[in-house]
Symmetry: C2
Subunit: 197 residues, 2 copies
Amino acid sequence: MRLTERKMQRKREQILQTAISIIKSHGYSGATMELISSELLMTKGSLYYYFKNKSDLMYQCHNFVLSQAIKDHEEILAKNLNQRQTLYEMVCLHIDYAVEQKETFNLIMEPKRFFKQEQLEPVLKLRKTYETIFDQTIEKGIKAGDFQSDDYKVARLFILGAMNWIQQWYSPEGQLTKQELKDLYFDYIMKILGGKE
Amino acid sequence: MRLTERKMQRKREQILQTAISIIKSHGYSGATMELISSELLMTKGSLYYYFKNKSDLMYQCHNFVLSQAIKDHEEILAKNLNQRQTLYEMVCLHIDYAVEQKETFNLIMEPKRFFKQEQLEPVLKLRKTYETIFDQTIEKGIKAGDFQSDDYKVARLFILGAMNWIQQWYSPEGQLTKQELKDLYFDYIMKILGGKE
DNA sequence: TTTAATTTTTAAACTTTGTTCAAAAAAAGG
DNA sequence: CCTTTTTTTGAACAAAGTTTAAAAATTAAA
């Protein structure tokens, strides 16, 4: 009886992984239920046994990636570096996600209209968690004298926005390597947060 | 013979305006051909007489708003203010567009997949024009000693990204007035561009 | 003004994609 | 081996974009 539940769970994750990879390769609108299911050697109708609808499946993908990102950030925090170093690693990690998982990491285009209420709430909550990790690091840094800022929450919005936008223009084939990008962006962030050089 | 062409043009603009307003009120995916046409007291089939397809119509909306924004920026340039003042007005204008015209101003979610090649190219060109206006102002400011920056094009990407992201979170009902938002953001921008206080 | 040509609109059919559902197939339990 | 439960299927349906042949409206010509 408990086994069934676990099996269900595993199947869900398997579908999720496939969906994520298809969103990655075919983009959001190219990821049809048909395509996802055929990749898993099933018919599209079957997907509805595991997920309520497409919006639910997409939400779970977003949720999965965002949760993973939060875990990764927590690993950084666990290293107990100074706040400047911590923030640097967080910035690098965020940029990695924004570039590598861009379709699922930031599901932006009118999320309020796209997600149904029951999905929107947990998404916003998860985002809040994510943002809070940044806020706390910045706040600690201010207390430790590493950074200085009034209105640091607006500064955080500014900074995250700048980083999220990267996915709109960055191409690995371009002039800028990812490492250069990270370092330049971190420099700007330090200027905003008044960090000493 | 020339009159017909002009009439066509007027009709196209009329449809465009209606489409823009419906995208504004119903969001991108809520703006169905049916809804747009019924607002104009015609059937959806008729829209295809004026626009090749929905993607074309959406592209024209984006184009229209973006072109208007460019004109507005050019008016600012024509005032011949110093570069710091110019940039301040440009930032204010950009934020206004990002907040008021958010659906059509930044049509972001996978534009490369959404627009067909023949539309993508002019969009990218128009965006380039828009970005160039910022670049030129920054460049002039550097020469005039108002700003300082190596890699100012990356700085511009950072700055525009931060501003574009505003549409994802800003609400007029929130704590921050639009004016406070503009001033805070301009402060951050000045820090990035090493502008003197 | 009547007729012919052209432009514009329509309504219906068709396509694609998401969704539902009853029935079949497969798996699990006794 | 039979019964029950779980899973999958395939067909039907719904919504939205798109096409098209024909009708309606407009314009031009005689």
